[in-house]
């Protein structure tokens, strides 16, 4: 029978292809394993602001908490979302469905962050965001499964934007990364400028990621006649914008609304010196932050921690405290229960000190306005910031009622 021989070969071919497919795993273990999945940009413009340093921070938290874990163990895995919302949502779906991940952590890039929030809610799993900025994460698009730890566009607008307006910068032109983060940062800052009777002369939005040449936007900004160039972008884009503004002899004040210490490092103090910026963590802030930095540096020698990294450490730590408080079984059953426990417990860690998580998922910590030091003022490696102003949690963050978070009202 000729046909049967062929079909046999066919079966072999198809069978080989199928056996190579991802097979679902079932595992039975004595102690339940909780998995933290750190998802961020590990190859693109945000790889230094988040990236592998965030992974190291989560691992440090797990190692330090190991002796306190009550009846469970914790593993850390990581993935690169390439700044693509579909990739991020796909990884989150597979992590939650297949790989037994209980907490997705970090997720810079607000577009990806919101996509992942949707998956976490659908699967009723826990999600702690540190790297993304959009204030919608605890506002219009809030979720009972999300904690937004570190910062958001609202405090950036209030703190950095507010300082610029106070110094007389009342007319603005924005260069904006064309996605959830940039647009939200622009709109939050615009609201602040308008409230202070200032005006916005225009804005250029550019495709993200993939834009390296900002010259034509800079020229548009210059010819708009505005006093302040507002950069509603981050990471490598902010670095390029500032460098090129210098090349083209731009005479405007620059408000880099989101800048991390890693960006300052990349720019150098001769270029960045004098800029104002806002972070909720600085390694050289106090004894506890210095102690944390000393512990993390051996695993990230080239990159000092910024607030995003610190948020990954503190968020992991608080997640494990929540596991202790409700127990592994309840935690495995519902991500929302973990998040609720995180909100019920006060936070306390070396990076952010004492704080709390608000009902809408907003982390409530101090926020700091810094000025970047001039080269002459800097005493040692990564000695970059002068503290200008400290905002207490109650003043720093957007009031709960203004966020428009739906599940709070009901």
């Amino acid at each position: 029978m000729e046909i049967s021989r062929r079909s046999l070969l066919n079966t072999v071919a198809t069978g080989a292809a199928v056996s190579a497919l991802p097979i679902g795993r079932a595992r039975a273990q004595a102690k339940p394993v909780f998995k933290i999945g750190v998802m961020n940009d590990q190859s693109g413009p945000y790889r230094d602001t988040g990236g592998l340093t965030s992974v190291a921070c989560a691992k440090l938290a797990v190692a330090e908490f190991a002796s306190l874990m009550q009846g469970y163990t914790v593993e850390v895995i990581s993935a690169d979302h390439q700044n693509k919302p579909d990739v991020g949502a796909g990884i989150a779906r597979q992590w939650y469905d297949q790989d037994g991940v209980d907490l997705v952590l970090d997720v810079p890039n607000s577009g990806v962050a919101l996509a992942v929030a949707g998956v976490a809610k659908e699967k009723n799993k826990a999600y702690v965001n540190s790297g993304a900025a959009s204030s919608d994460i605890t506002g219009a698009q809030c979720s009972p499964n999300t904690v937004h730890w570190t910062y958001d566009t609202w405090i950036l607008a209030q703190s950095t934007g507010g300082a610029t307006v106070k110094a007389g910068g009342d007319t603005w032109y924005f260069i904006t990364a064309d996605y959830a983060f940039g647009k939200k940062l622009e709109s939050d800052t615009t609201a602040l400028i308008k409230a202070a009777k200032g005006s916005v002369k225009g804005s250029s939005t550019y495709p993200f990621p993939g834009t390296t040449d900002f010259s034509s936007f800079l020229l548009q900004a210059q010819s708009s006649g505005a006093k302040v160039l507002g950069l509603a972008n981050a990471g490598g884009d902010t670095i390029n914008s500032i460098k090129q503004a210098k090349e083209f002899g731009l005479t405007m004040d620059i408000a880099a609304l989101l800048m991390f210490i890693s960006d300052v490092h990349a720019l150098g103090l001769d270029v960045a010196g004098g800029l104002h910026l806002t972070e909720s963590f600085y390694w050289d802030l106090n004894d506890r932050t210095r102690a944390f930095t000393k512990r993390i540096l051996p695993s990230t020698p080239k990159n000092y921690p910024n607030m995003d990294h610190a948020g990954c450490y503190a968020g992991s730590l608080h997640f494990m405290k929540a596991l202790n408080s409700i127990g592994p079984a309840a935690a495995k059953a519902s991500g929302r229960a973990i998040i609720d426990a995180m909100k019920a417990l006060p936070t306390d860690d070396d990076c952010f000190g004492k704080g709390s998580i608000r009902a809408d998922g907003r982390g409530m910590f101090n926020s700091y306005l810094f000025q970047v030091k001039k080269p002459a003022e800097s005493k040692g490696p990564w000695d970059y910031y002068k503290l200008i102003q400290t905002s207490e949690p109650a003043q720093a963050w957007r009031p709960l009622a203004d966020g428009g978070c739906a599940f709070i009202k009901s």
Binding site: Q42, S43, G44, P45, Y46, R47, D48, Q82, S204, T205, P207, P209, G210, T212, D213, S215, S216, L219, Q220, S223, G235, G236, N240, K243, E247, F248, G249
Partner: protein
């Protein structure tokens, strides 16, 4: 301020000058593509990747061997051109007898490999490449402050493009090349080693791409994606100019940069799409392109 009919045209001029910088790269890249297409009938999809490779090699020369921008302008194109020769000899040359589509697919695969390796090595955020000392600083043009390096790019690219065109149109090497394009068998019969000619042509086209890459490094920083961002635009330039038309691609390259500059002033959001609109318009009215011969 320059005023025309009551309008301040300074910003428009400024955007146009910037557009010319992009146009300079479009022209250099489409020139190489047109040369390769003219003789080999291959759509060199790897062109963008080889442009990127030019930038990467010059970054590598600077970082690891301390070889600066000026020597790089010569060394990087030679190295990448040699790589092109290897590609042509080992792979592309085996496909001439097949449907041209396979050449497109092969070079597409090569582009994926080269870009993937670069991304693995350098990430996708770009490596800064300093402007050479002699071209640092800015020039005041009256309506704008222009970094001197970018002016140099426009001038250098124009000179290179025109010299290539003169070589191809006015010298005996060029005549042989063009003859080989028309009828390879006949030229072979005259004792010209056509396969070698073809190999060298591919190598030169690739070297042109690498040269563009070296020149682009200080402007756009060295980025693994720089090639794939630009290659489709360059394809459109070649289609608009007329496939295989050398002068067509040079002129279209520069004009397109200018047109993009204008668009950025008038309606910035459309600047990325204007090239494709133009291409569709040209195809509907002159299917062979502005400078191409109807087939």
């Amino acid at each position: 301020m320059l005023m025309v009919l009551g309008y301040n045209i300074g910003p428009l001029l400024a955007q146009s000058v910037l557009g010319m910088v992009n146009g300079a790269f479009y022209a250099l890249l489409s020139l190489g593509l047109a040369v390769i297409f003219g003789l080999l009938n291959i759509i060199n999809f790897a062109h963008g990747a080889l442009y990127m490779l030019g930038a990467v090699v010059s970054w590598w020369l600077l970082t690891y061997l301390g070889i600066g921008y000026w020597p790089s302008l010569v060394i990087a194109p030679i190295l990448v051109g040699a790589f092109g020769v290897v590609l042509e000899r080992t792979m592309i040359s085996k496909l001439y007898k097949l449907d041209h589509l396979y050449g497109l697919l092969l070079t597409f695969g090569i582009a994926l490999i080269v870009e993937g390796l670069a991304r693995n090595e350098f990430g996708s955020s770009g490596l800064p490449y300093a402007v050479p000392a002699a071209l640092r600083g800015a020039t005041k043009l009256g309506f704008m402050i222009m970094p001197t390096y970018r002016l140099w790019v426009v001038v250098a690219s124009f000179v290179i493009c025109m010299s290539t065109w003169i070589v191809l149109e006015k010298t005996s090497i060029g005549a042989t090349l063009r003859a080989a394009t028309e009828n390879a068998a006949l030229v072979q019969a005259f004792g010209v080693n056509v396969p070698r000619l073809v190999t060298l042509t591919y190598g030169s086209g690739v070297a042109l791409a690498a040269l563009a890459g070296v020149m682009a490094a200080p402007v756009y920083s060295v980025n693994p994606n720089m090639g794939s961002d630009v290659i489709i635009v360059v394809f459109a330039v070649v289609v608009i100019g007329g496939m295989g038309s050398i002068l067509g691609s040079i002129l279209t390259g520069f004009s397109l940069g200018l047109l993009e500059g204008f668009t950025k002033f008038i309606y910035p959001e459309a600047s990325g799409v204007v090239v494709f609109v133009l291409m569709i318009a040209v195809l509907l009215t002159r299917p062979a392109g502005l400078f191409g011969k109807a087939s």
